[in-house]
């Protein structure tokens, strides 16, 4: 693994009973890269994310993140290493406010124990105030000011997606995994989200892996694209290369039968 890579995903195989969800996929992500994974429904994109974040354990293969092998580690350990993600279907804590959700993102940056918490003095108070200030920067960054104290369950879908991005950013990740950040959004919301993704890249310098069905977004934002189908890698390359790759066209549009 070179210094230029933050993530090396090599020859990973994951199957459930007879179904091969991820079948020998390999890729690397650079330290400044915005890497996209695309593929038809059920191609195994989200399974790749679940392997990365420790929700699933692959049968074989290696996942090296910033010099550490992730296979066999539990989700919270992987989070502490600096890998953050968002989910395809918003996985926010619906009863908690925007602020509380963001503060939960800072969970492993806050270290005081239960006894300090009960007294709410000294270290606990100091760290909570620092976390509150840090979270405010994210509120500002993602323009969430007007919803700070609202339970996220009551917010519009597009805003929930943004809060989820904020929760991942609050973790101060070394690598950000975005699972369909604009899935189900209208044009305006999609443009907003694209702007935030670019801002994250420009201002925070966080490399990202993006799973997305919106081809326009992927082709505009991504540096490189990996195409998967039925769990298998089809092609990797720049958006322009991938778009014209015959195997990719076949995966999306089907076999060309009689010409």
């Amino acid at each position: 693994m070179t210094d230029q890579e933050i993530l090396r995903f090599s020859n990973v195989r994951l199957s459930f009973a007879g179904v091969r969800a991820v079948d020998g996929v390999s890729f690397t992500v650079g330290r400044q890269e915005l890497f996209a994974i695309i593929g038809p429904n059920g191609a195994g994109k989200t399974s790749i994310f679940n392997v990365l974040s420790g929700v699933y354990r692959p049968q074989s293969g290696r996942v090296v993140f910033d010099g550490v092998d992730l296979v066999g580690r539990r989700p919270h350990e992987i989070a502490a290493l600096g890998l953050a993600r968002t989910f395809q279907n918003v996985e926010l804590f619906a009863n908690l406010t925007v602020l509380e959700n963001l503060l939960l993102g800072r969970h492993h940056h806050i270290r005081y124990g239960p006894l300090a918490a009960v007294l709410w003095r000294g270290r606990a108070r100091r760290e909570e105030l620092a976390a509150r200030a840090a979270v405010e920067e994210i509120v500002e960054f993602l323009e969430l000011e007007q919803w700070r104290r609202m339970p996220v369950g009551l917010l519009p879908y597009g805003v929930q997606k943004r809060v989820e991005l904020g929760r991942a950013l609050a973790m101060e990740p070394k690598l950000l995994l975005l699972d369909e950040p604009v899935g189900g959004m209208n044009l305006e919301e999609t443009e907003d989200m694209a702007r935030y993704i670019l801002d994250v890249r420009e201002e925070l310098g966080v490399p990202m892996v993006l799973v997305e069905h919106d081809m326009g977004l992927v082709m505009d934002l991504a540096d490189r694209v990996l195409v998967v189908d039925f769990g298998q890698p089809v092609a990797t390359g720049t958006p322009a290369e991938v778009q014209t790759h015959p195997d990719v066209v076949r995966a999306y549009l089907g076999e060309v039968t009689a010409a």
């Binding site: 919270h76 804590f93 007294l119």
Partner: protein
């Protein structure tokens, strides 16, 4: 703090410390102060038998807060609360009992020693039980914790050297602090007045501690586990550890509540720690409002006062008898009311008494408009 605030802007916050304050609006500060003054002055307004009942309410509230933390906040349904209450009660009674008495007693009569000890022994039991919660969830966990109650009942019944045996019982822990008895009638106050004040102060301490825990990193982790456990893990919450912390803290509260509960009446037997007790505490949390500290307190007062209320009710409904051998009698009404209330709350106001309070508050906030 209020010096820097512009006039006429009581809700403007100028620092994160103000933003995170427990009582963050002037209205909350005033009402809490008023409620506190009222609670402290109740002994001058009420008769001793009512004060005794309210003292029991305060202790029950401590136990309900404990169950609220594990079930309401962390979402781990526990039917084993009676087991932890029992462990606390017998630890305290065993420590403070008379060394020459009929049952085990070590003569450590100071509440500053036996109360934390009861909490810690119960917390240890909670830590031992916690691995179940890391492997099971929902209904399965409820059933397994139900098993604890039966194990507890068996042990308490059989270990008569400690518990006095079924149907016989033993004296509860002795209320002494620094060699001075806390609950005896003297020239200043009656036993029940003192008991009430003591339990009220303890409830305040336990409630503020729980509130602090709930708004801390730990409380947020609890809620995250309750709402979405996979997402909680992915953002960095160590699920097994926090489930263990939840059970430990909850059992600590239960242990302390169990230790105090029978000091009011003075005597208890193993039959007290049955499934019914666990269900009563679940009812307190559900009727009060799961996931809130004030809800747990309200629920505890409500459930504890309910038998008394139904007795009072009898005067208004003459066809209900006070004799247990006549039908219908108040005891039947009480049992039925209990179930009916849980059902009614779950259907019409799942947020419990706390939810009713929120509704009333919002109504007055918006008045005379509907929203």
């Amino acid at each position: 703090m209020s010096n820097s605030r512009p006039r006429g802007r009581p809700l403007l916050r100028t620092s994160y410390a103000e933003d995170l304050a427990l009582l963050d609006t002037p209205a909350k500060r005033w009402w809490t102060a008023a409620l506190l003054v009222l609670a402290l002055s109740l002994p001058f307004l009420l008769t001793d038998d009512l004060l005794q009942l309210l003292a029991v309410c305060c202790v029950a509230a401590i136990g309900a807060i404990g169950l609220g933390l594990v079930t309401g906040y962390a979402g781990q349904v526990s039917l084993g609360h009676a087991f932890f209450l029992g462990i606390g009660a017998y630890t305290a009674a065993g420590l403070s009992g008379d060394p020459d008495g009929r049952v085990i007693g070590l003569g450590v009569t100071d509440i500053a020693l036996w109360l934390p000890a009861a909490g810690l022994v119960a917390a240890l039991a909670g830590v031992l039980v916690a691995p179940l919660a890391t492997r099971l969830r929902g209904l399965y966990l409820a059933i397994v914790t139900l098993g604890l109650v039966f194990i507890g009942q068996h042990v308490f019944n059989e270990w008569s050297a400690l518990t006095g045996g079924a149907g016989v019982g033993r004296p509860a822990a002795t209320l002494e602090f620094l060699g001075r008895p806390l609950a005896v009638t003297d020239a200043v106050a009656t036993r029940d007045q003192k008991l009430y004040w003591l339990m009220l102060v303890l409830l305040l301490v336990f409630a503020v501690a729980a509130r602090n825990l709930a708004r801390s990193r730990i409380g947020r982790a609890f809620t995250a586990i309750r709402d979405r456990d996979i997402a909680a893990g992915v953002i960095g919450v160590n699920l097994p550890r926090y489930k263990t912390v939840a059970f430990a803290v909850s059992s600590f509260y239960a242990g302390c509540a169990g230790a105090l509960l029978y000091t009011v009446t003075g005597f208890f037997d193993p039959g007290s720690f049955s499934l019914l007790l666990s269900v009563q505490y679940i009812a307190m949390v559900l009727i009060g409002g799961a996931g809130t500290i004030s809800g747990a307190i309200a629920g505890a007062f409500f459930i504890t006062l309910l038998p008394r209320l139904t007795r009072e009710l009898q005067a208004w409904v003459p066809f209900v008898s006070t004799q247990p051998n006549e039908v219908p009698n108040v005891f039947q009404v009480e049992t039925i009311l209990y179930g009916v209330l849980i059902i009614v709350f779950l259907i019409f106001e799942p947020r419990g008494l706390f939810g009713l309070w929120i509704r009333a508050r919002n109504y007055w906030k918006a008045w005379p408009f509907s929203y």
